[in-house]
C-alpha cells in the first residue's frame, strides 16, 4: 500500500486534531480572540540564533510575534493564533523547519500569570483528550495536577551540572549544557517551569525590575521536552531597538543574514500595554499526548516525504 507511514499515523493525527480543537475551546472560553496575521513578512525579529526562510525578497515568519504585538498595541487585549512558522535549517528528532506554533498574548499580565494559564490550558486539553490528569511519555508518568514545579535557570545549573550559569555563559557553553545536562531531567514526574533567564537570552523580554541581570522569561518542560517559551513583554521601544541592534550585530559577527529593522513594530510598541506572551509548539504538545519519540510521528508529512 502506498503512503504506509501516513496510514499508520491515523491515531496520532486524530489526537492532533482533538488537541487543536481543545486549544481553541480553551481560549475562546477565556475571552481570547483568534486572529490570523501574515505568514510572509518584510522584517522578522532579529534574533541571533533563529534563521528565517527568504521568500521573494521578504521572509516567512519565524513566529507571529511582531504582528500580534501590533494588534495588542492597536487595542486587542487577549489574542491567540495557531500559525505555521518556518525556521531555516532546523531539522532533528524534535525539530521541523516548518512547525505549528500556538502563540497568545494577554494584556496587563506578567510571566507569573502566564505560568498559571499554561497549567490551566494543558490541564484542560488533557481532560478533554484523555480524560486523565496524567501523561505517560517515553516511560515517565507525569502528573499534571497544579501547581507545577518552578526552578530558576541559575538553580537548574546548580542542581544538574558542575558548572554555574555564569561560568557557562562566560565560556559560551550555556546552550550546550542546557540541552545535554539540564533539559533531559526536566518535567519527568511533573511539568516544570524553568524561569528567569540571563538578560542576554531574552531579546524581547522585560528585565526583572529588581534584578536586571535576569529577563522575565520562562520555558515549560514536560517529559524533557521544551514545550513553550514565554515572557513578560518588553514594551519600551528605545530599549527594544537597542536589543535588536545588538542581535543584528551578533548575526553580522556570526556571518548570518541581517534582517531589516522592523520599524513599524518598534513604532507600535509605544502604544502596547504591559503584557505577557507565550509561544507553544503544537507539534511537541502532540508528541507528549501520543507518546511520540520523534516529531515526525505527529505530522502528516515531513519535508523529506515531499
Amino acid at each position: 500500500m502506498k503512503d504506509d507511514r501516513q496510514n499508520a499515523l491515523q491515531k496520532h493525527l486524530q489526537l492532533r486534531a482533538r488537541i487543536v480543537q481543545a486549544t481553541r475551546h480553551f481560549f475562546i472560553g477565556n475571552d481570547y480572540l483568534e486572529v490570523e496575521t501574515p505568514v510572509r513578512i518584510p522584517a522578522p525579529a532579529p534574533e541571533a540564533h533563529i534563521d528565517a526562510v527568504a521568500s521573494g525578497g521578504w521572509f516567512l515568519q519565524t513566529s507571529p510575534e511582531l504582528c500580534m504585538k501590533r494588534l495588542l498595541a492597536a487595542g486587542f487585549p487577549r489574542i491567540f493564533q495557531i500559525a505555521k512558522c518556518f525556521r531555516q535549517g532546523e531539522r532533528g528528532r524534535l525539530h521541523l523547519p516548518e512547525m505549528t506554533l500556538l502563540e497568545w498574548y494577554r494584556a496587563d499580565s506578567s510571566y507569573l500569570e502566564m505560568m498559571n494559564e499554561c497549567e490551566a490550558l494543558i490541564g484542560q486539553i488533557a481532560r478533554q483528550v484523555s480524560s486523565k490528569n496524567m501523561i505517560s511519555y517515553q516511560g515517565s508518568e507525569i502528573d499534571l495536577t497544579p501547581p507545577w514545579r518552578r526552578i530558576s535557570v541559575a538553580e537548574a545549573f546548580e542542581k544538574f551540572t558542575p558548572m554555574s550559569m555564569d561560568a557557562a555563559l562566560e565560556n559560551d557553553r550555556f546552550d550546550e549544557i542546557m540541552v545535554e545536562a539540564i533539559e533531559p531531567n526536566l518535567g519527568q514526574s511533573q511539568p516544570i517551569f524553568l524561569y528567569d533567564y540571563p538578560a542576554s537570552c531574552g531579546a524581547l523580554a522585560r528585565l526583572k525590575p529588581q534584578e536586571s541581570r535576569y529577563a522575565e522569561r520562562f520555558e515549560l518542560y514536560i517529559g524533557g521536552l521544551e514545550i513553550c517559551n514565554a515572557f513578560s513583554e518588553l514594551t519600551d521601544p528605545v530599549e527594544q531597538r537597542t536589543r535588536f541592534e545588538r542581535e543584528q550585530e551578533r548575526r553580522r559577527n556570526a556571518g548570518r543574514r541581517v534582517y531589516p529593522m522592523p520599524l513599524k513594530f518598534l513604532d507600535a510598541l509605544q502604544d502596547m500595554p504591559e503584557a505577557a506572551g507565550n509561544a507553544l509548539g503544537i507539534d511537541r504538545l502532540v508528541m507528549l499526548f501520543t507518546d511520540a519519540k520523534q516529531i515526525d510521528e505527529v505530522v502528516a508529512f515531513t519535508p523529506e516525504e515531499l
Binding site: H49, E90, F174, D175, V179
Partner: protein, 187 residues
C-alpha cells in the same frame, strides 16, 4: 567547503588532515539558543571513533575521496602492489589496510580502491572470487561419518569449510563478504 548545516549521517569530512565518516548524528537546539550538531565520527584510516559537537557556522572540507578500479599485481614483503586500470599508475597498500581482503586476493583481480588525497586507504574486492583448493582430505564415497563439510586450504593460504566432494586442485567460488564457500567452478 561544507558547514555545520550540511552535517548528516554518512557524510565524509576531513579533520586535521584525516578522513572521517559520521556514523551517528543528532541535531539539537534550545528554541532561542544555538543550534548544535552532535556527531559520532569514525576515522577512516584507524577506525577510531569519537564524539564531537559542531556549532552553527563552523566550516570544514569534505574528505577528498575517490573510488578507482585497480588491478592487484604482486605482494612485496608486507606491501601489496595495485595498478590503476585507467592511468596504469601503481600504488602500494599495507597488509593492515587490506584487512580481511588479503584472504581472497589473487593476482590480476580488479578491485575497487578508495583513495584519500590520492593515497589508497581501503580495498573492496569483487563479491565473488574463484580460488584454487591446494589442500583438503580426499573424499571417500559412502563415508557419511565425516559429516557435511571438511576444511580446505586455498591458494591464498585461507582455510574454510567446503562440502566433502571438493577435491584438491579444484576451483571453488568464494563470497568475499562472508568468506564462505558458494559453489564448485567447472573448468
Amino acid at each position: 567547503m561544507l558547514e555545520s548545516g550540511d552535517l548528516k549521517k554518512g557524510l565524509k569530512l576531513e579533520l586535521e588532515g584525516e578522513p572521517y565518516v559520521i556514523v551517528q548524528f543528532e541535531f539539537v537546539k534550545p528554541g532561542k539558543g544555538q543550534a548544535l550538531y552532535k556527531c559520532k565520527l569514525k576515522n577512516m584510516l584507524t577506525g577510531a571513533q569519537f564524539d564531537r559537537t559542531f556549532r552553527s557556522g563552523e566550516k570544514f572540507n569534505p574528505a577528498n575521496l575517490e573510488e578507482v578500479q585497480m588491478e592487484y599485481l604482486y605482494a612485496d614483503a608486507d606491501r601489496f602492489c595495485f595498478m590503476n586500470t585507467s592511468n596504469y599508475e601503481q600504488e602500494f597498500v599495507t597488509e593492515e589496510q587490506l584487512g580481511e581482503s588479503k584472504n581472497f586476493l589473487k593476482e590480476n583481480t580488479v578491485c575497487n580502491v578508495l583513495l584519500f588525497d590520492g593515497r589508497p586507504i581501503e580495498v573492496t574486492l569483487p563479491y565473488f572470487i574463484d580460488l584454487k583448493v591446494v589442500k583438503t582430505d580426499p573424499w571417500v564415497k559412502g563415508d557419511t561419518a565425516s559429516g557435511d563439510s571438511k576444511p580446505a586450504t586455498l591458494e591464498t593460504g585461507y582455510v574454510l569449510n567446503v562440502p566433502p566432494f571438493i577435491q584438491e586442485s579444484e576451483l571453488i567460488r568464494i563470497d568475499t563478504r562472508t568468506g564462505q564457500y558458494v559453489e564448485r567452478v567447472k573448468t
